[in-house]
Symmetry: C2
DNA sequence: TATAGAATGCAACTTTGTTGCAAAATACTT
DNA sequence: AAGTATTTTGCAACAAAGTTGCATTCTATA
């Protein structure tokens, strides 16, 4: 019990730090949603968060996610089933101010989870003349490790 | 006028051929939606099609797009703003039966258009052990050629 | 601790997508 | 070419997803 409290305090401290770094006021809904992201192993849909933070209003969750997106705390992942998925940005992504999330995302067709393949980086490509690149995303569909077993 | 008719006949023949190839019955809504795709230079959202084919019911458009997806006539493009965009598959994509759409897609942040960069193919990547790949998508955001000028 | 400013919850609304079913259109048979 | 089986369409009703305005509550700060 003491151990559990200490864990929660740790996470509480972490969420407050993230909010402070982004100069956002510290509210319980924001902390709760950040905690959800920190303990999630996969990218989350709005609906997932709604279920895990059901004490908060749907509108609040929409607005909080939008705020986090604006501040670069989270990012969206383009998915082939065109559901919106959100994931935490990596540390240096947040601190560096602008968004650069250079790893490949994996969408499991069986369990439906969206995973960040942190170790697989997106290869460089050459665009036709006249195009300017700002962001690049790579999404792979298939069966994930867990579902293959 | 004669010239215009001949053009429309040409496109009519083309749309009917596509439908026949996929063993779909030929209906005016399907032909209309195919014509829209054939004359579009960019990928289209459901909403775009609804505006361009307003004589048809919303439900019909949903069902037609789903049918075209099932037959591999069109494909969806994952976008970072998480709107669903549809584009015609290339010829060999249709005829070969299974879908393989190996080019990079470009999303212009300025004009909002989604373009198929047919000449830029998706580079190969290596997934971690245990993952199986079925489909791969690469989406680039930035400013397109037209908007840069 | 008082207060200005920000965030939240609620209600009402718009947009987007789905389903069942009767009517209409298409394909097929003869 | 006409009749019939099958498919497709449109309508209605609904469900889900997302948005907006405003009054209330909470947070930061002096």
């Amino acid at each position: 019990m003491i151990f559990l409290n200490s864990l929660q305090n740790k996470m509480g401290a972490q969420t407050e730090l993230i909010l402070k770094t982004s100069s956002l006021s510290i509210t319980s809904s924001r902390k709760k949603i950040l905690e959800i992201f920190l303990s999630a192993s996969t990218a989350l849909a709005h609906q997932d968060i709604e279920k895990l933070a059901e004490q908060y209003d749907r509108v609040t969750i929409y607005r909080t996610l939008q705020t986090f997106l604006d501040r670069g705390i989270i990012h969206t992942i383009p998915t082939t089933d065109n559901t919106i998925k959100y994931a935490l940005c990596s540390d240096d992504c947040i601190t560096s101010g602008h968004h650069h999330d250079n790893h490949v995302h994996f969408l499991c067709d069986q369990c439906g989870r969206t995973l960040c393949l942190d170790d697989v980086s997106i290869p460089a490509i050459t665009l036709p003349k006249g195009y300017s690149m700002k962001e690049i995303n790579m999404v792979v569909n298939g069966i994930c490790k867990t579902c293959m077993e």
